[in-house]
Each structure stands twice: as structure tokens, then as C-alpha cells.
Amino acid sequence: MSASDTSDAAATQDAAPPRPAWQVLLVRPETVTFLLLIAGLFAGNMLSPYFLDVSYILRSFTLYAEFAIVALVMTMVIIGGEIDLSPAAGMALAACVFAWVQQAGVPVPAAIGVGLLVGLAMGALNAFMVIAMQLPSIIVTIGTLTLFRGLAQIIAGDKSIRVPEWFIGIDKVMIANIPLPVVLFVVLALILGVVLGGTVFGRQVYQVGTNEVAARHAGIRSARIKLILFLASGIVAAIAGMMTASRFGSVRYDLGQGGELQMVLMAMLGGTYIFGGRGTILGTFLAAWLLVIVSTGMIVANVLPAVQLVVLGVLLIVSIIATNFIYSRTQR
């Protein structure tokens, strides 16, 4: 027996056999999300006869559509190794500035521009604190979320600011019988899915999230990538805020309060790994639907809000146990 033979035999023995294709395709966190989604539909139907109505479910989705849209971008931020808890408050700030500015007489298109600028500024602040000052993003964004919410409170006070009549009702606009916000969500999911899964930029985001130092050594400009992610987060929050303004007909400083938890929930339920490097747009997409179905199913069955909280808490814990289990098992 020559040395090469032994090493060949050893190599074949030690190397793990490649996983069957069906395993790679199906044993992933997104499958768990999908299964929970189906289970949710069944449960909702059992709880209440009023639930399984497609137009009702679509209409209910519009109540969460803004959060879902932001959650898509937040997924990318988390995959990139950071986290941004400020978008919900950012929605309020951008919306309040937008409403206040247009009430002061600025024409609406310009006011929208101002809103977007606010989004850019918010993202820039987060980016500066995290990238330039090297502060941990979770604490920075807890600070900025408090700051943004407070600024919104200063601008709008405790009152609502109305928006012009023609601007109201984005959720009533239908495309092929589907409310516009839902369509926007699906379209954005498709675009981001392609960007994340199929472009160089997307691959770099994954690499930065997995190991930032190694990525930098490989020549990836991680600071630039994170900057883009934070700016995107800010802008999309601004857009979501203005969409919400259209839906309600007015803005208040407490717009979107509690939204940060919902967005993180959607990302986590979708199998995004909190420490970065893993996750998909598809997962978050399915998770958003899961969340809407579970919440709507419980509300229409007049289930106590208390029980809803318990169910959501348990759902989150179960899904991350499953996600972690799958990721650890499929480490190759």
C-alpha cells in the first residue's frame, strides 16, 4: 500500500458524504416557518369560522405591511452582523416631519422629499455611531430609537397632524384585488431577495456578517457595506412611516410604537441568525405572513390579548430553538 492510497482511503473515510439534495433544500429554518404558517392557517380556521377569508386576511396584512417592509431591510442588517432597533421610532419621526412640513404649506412631493432626507439622516446617525465610533449597534440603536421617538414627540406634541385628503387611503388602492401595501411588500421582497441572494453585494453582506475581520482581509470594504445597510434602513423606515400616515390619515408621535419588537420577531421567525451571516429574505417574507395569520386568527376569534402575547412568546422561542438546531446540525 502506497502512502497516497492510504491517504486516499483515509480521505474518503473521514470526509462526510455530501448531503442529499432534498435535505439541503428542505431542512432549513424557512421550512419550519412555512410549516408553522400552514399550522397557523389550520388553527385560525378552527378557532373561528370568520377567519379563512382571503380578502380579510389581505386587508389585515395592510395593518402590518409597513413593519413587514422594514423587517425585510432589517433582515439584511442583521445578516450583516449588526442590528437596528430604531426603524419603528424612525417611522414616527419621518412621518411627523413630513406631516408638519406639509401642514406648514410645503407641497406634498417636496414634503415627501424632506421625509426621505430625514430617513437618510437617521441612518447616517446610526452608521456614524456604529461604524465611526465603533459602538455596539444594539445599544446605539436603543439610544437612537429613544431619541427619534422623543424628537417626534417634540415636533408633533401630543396631537395628531392631518395629511391632505387625496394622500389618504393607500390601503384602499387595489391592484388585482390586492391592497397596494401588500403588493409593495411582495415586490420589495422579490427585489431584495435577488440582491441578497444573487449579487456580489449580497454575498459580501453574508461574509461581513460571518466574520468581519476575515472579510476585510479578503478585501471587502465592510464599513461601506454597513453604511449602505444603515442608510437603507433609515430610508425604508421613512417610506414606511409615510405609508402609515396615508393609511391613518394623520400622524402621531407614537406611530409604530412597539414595532421594533414586531420587526425583530419577523426576522427571527424567518430563521435569521442574530449573530449574523445566516438568514434569507424568503424566511422573513414567510415569517411576516405567519405573524399576520397568527395575530389575525386570534383577534377574530376574540382571543384575549394576554393569550396572544403568550402564543407569540412561545412561537419565538420555539422557532429559534428550531433554527439553532438546524444551523448547528448543518454546519459543514
Partner: protein, 331 residues
């Protein structure tokens, strides 16, 4: 033969439609939030009235009292096909669109305990606990009687946006300014405790620090008046600073018993729920016309008049609670 057949068909049709028409009326009351003892009272009134009337009734409420937290609940109730949506609104205008949707489907929309100020066209009628225009003057009079109609007083309110608070405060200021009986009373500050016990407490303590000559505090909010009373009790200054306002007997009983608070006022939330249920039932049955000026009778409450903008007051003046009568009430 054919006539008999026709008669039989007509009769069975009538029976069927009669049976459909006899479907119980489904009512739902959407509170501001759960865990709020005030709404438990209103709920009690609704429930008991519906038992008597044979209506189906449910109470739902969101976990938090934000302006928009009730919207998914309204949507769900529309989906469930209820006939009446009664709501204690968390916001004057956030729900305009969804309430219009409800009315478009033939659902009767009632604002109970608070109104959609400035947006009354989005609801069918409003049930208030008292004549809100009398609340302010009633409270000022009570405060005056406690302090000998002389001295510096302050107001501890809830949130700056609450329309009912602002109505009452405006009336209080007007009464103080115009009625010569109160000419020696001076309103030095109005602060906001946001209906949070912690914030109400710090605002109260700040009042005491900023205005050492303060002799009275009016807190027209159950959370505020309890917090203010607690501060006074803790510091033992009940003789110097008099606290009064709108409070729940269950929360204020201790303070009355130990003399920290001499008297406070409120109304009967239970009766509100009772009236609302009877009114809704009457309108849907056709026995009550929802028009300004209509008078109708409600068991236990007597005659109720529908006022301007379709507003009804459950009782006219506030009820005053003090050591003499506090034990009679259990809400």
C-alpha cells in the same frame, strides 16, 4: 289547492324571515385597554343589560392604549358580523376610515365614555357619563369648599391630547375666571401625568417643590388623583394640601378612611354601559329613533334625552364621594 300551497309557502317564508329577524343582536364593546378597572365597570353594565335584553355581548380590548391599537379589533369585529360596535376611543381621528367601513356594512357605531371630538360624523351616537360641561364647574366648587375658597391651586391632568380632559380644564379655567365666588382662588399650574402612576407622582412632587404655597390639587383622572393622594399621604401634609378630583371609590377608599382625601367625585361607569346597551337595542329594533331631541326611557335610569350631535348623558351632575357614602359603592 294552489291557493293553499301558496299560503303555505308564504307562511313558511314569513316564519323563516321571522326566525332570521329574531337572530339575537350582537354587540361588542371595545375598551381602551385591558387591565383597566374603570372599563371593567362599564363592561358590567353592558353585560347585565344584554342579559336582560337577550343580546349577545362580548368585551374586547387591546393590550395597550395607543391611538391605533384598536384598529385591528374593529376590523375583526366587522369580519365577525356584529351589529353594534361600542368603543371607548383611544384617539379622536385614527379610526375614521375603519369606522366608516363598519357603518357602510350597516353596523351601528357608538362612542361610549368619550367622543371622537371633531370627527363626530364617523359615529352614530355618543354616550357620555355626565354632562361634560358641568364637570369642570363641579370640580372647582368641590375644591373651593375644601380650601375655604382661597389660595393657590393646580391641576394634575392625564395626557395633553385627551379631549375630555381639555374640555374639563377649559371649563375650570372659565369658572375660576368668571365666577366671583372663586375670586380668591388662583390656578398656578397645569401639569400632565399621562395617566401613568410614576409620571403623575413626579409631576405632583414637582408641583409641591415649585409652589410651596399650594393648598389644593385637582386631578380629574383616576390615576392622577390616586398618585397625588399617595404623595400627600407619604408626606403627611393632608392638612395643608387638599387633593381632589375624579377617582374610583375602590382606589380612593383608603385615602378617604385615613383622612388624606376629604372628598372626590365621579359618576357611574356601570350605568353608562347599561344605557348604551339599551340604546343600541332600541335603535336596532326600531323603538328608539336616533335623532336629536328624542326622549326615551331606560329601566333604572329614567328618561334620557338625545342631545346635540347625538350625545346622551347618563346622569347630569357628578356624584360626590366622601366618608359618609364611600362604603356604598363597590367599583
Amino acid at each position: 289547492m294552489r291557493k293553499l300551497l301558496l299560503a303555505g309557502v308564504a307562511l313558511s317564508l314569513a316564519l323563516v324571515t321571522g326566525a332570521i329577524a329574531a337572530d339575537p343582536i350582537k354587540m361588542v364593546y371595545i375598551g381602551k385597554n385591558t387591565g383597566n378597572p374603570y372599563f371593567d365597570s362599564i363592561n358590567g353594565g353592558f353585560e347585565d343589560a344584554c342579559k336582560q335584553l337577550g343580546c349577545e355581548y362580548e368585551f374586547v380590548a387591546p393590550a395597550t392604549a395607543e391611538a391605533t391599537s384598536q384598529i385591528p379589533f374593529i376590523e375583526a369585529q366587522i369580519q365577525r358580523g356584529v351589529n353594534v360596535i361600542a368603543i371607548a376611543p383611544n384617539s379622536p381621528d385614527a379610526m375614521n376610515q375603519v369606522l366608516d367601513d363598519a357603518r357602510a356594512k350597516g353596523i351601528l357605531v357608538l362612542a361610549v365614555n368619550g367622543d371622537l371630538v371633531g370627527n363626530e360624523s364617523h359615529r352614530d351616537a355618543n354616550i357620555l357619563p355626565v354632562d361634560f360641561t358641568k364637570t369642570g364647574p363641579n370640580q372647582v366648587e368641590l375644591m373651593g369648599s375644601l380650601i375655604g375658597y382661597k389660595g393657590q391651586i393646580a391641576i394634575l391632568s392625564a395626557t395633553t391630547e385627551a379631549p375630555d380632559q381639555n374640555t374639563w380644564i377649559a371649563a375650570m379655567k372659565k369658572t375660576l375666571a368668571e365666577d366671583p365666588k372663586y375670586k380668591d382662588m388662583e390656578l398656578v399650574a397645569t401639569v400632565y401625568g399621562d395617566d401613568q402612576p410614576e409620571k403623575s407622582t413626579t409631576e405632583m412632587e414637582a408641583l409641591l417643590s415649585n409652589y410651596p404655597d399650594l393648598v389644593g390639587v385637582i386631578a380629574p383622572t383616576t390615576v392622577g388623583v390616586a398618585a397625588a393622594a399617595q404623595v400627600v399621604q407619604q408626606r403627611g401634609i393632608a392638612d395643608k394640601v387638599h387633593v381632589t378630583g375624579l377617582g374610583l371609590p375602590s382606589e380612593m377608599r383608603d385615602f378617604i378612611k385615613d383622612g388624606t382625601v376629604k372628598a372626590f367625585q365621579l359618576w357611574s361607569p356601570y350605568n353608562e354601559g347599561w344605557l348604551a346597551a339599551y340604546f343600541a337595542d332600541g335603535v336596532l329594533n326600531g323603538t328608539i329613533k336616533n335623532e336629536v331631541g328624542t326622549k326615551f326611557d331606560v329601566p333604572n335610569l329614567g328618561s334620557i334625552t338625545i342631545g346635540d350631535k347625538n350625545v346622551m348623558n347618563t346622569q347630569a351632575e357628578l356624584t360626590t364621594f366622601n366618608a359618609d357614602n364611600i362604603d356604598q359603592f363597590n367599583f
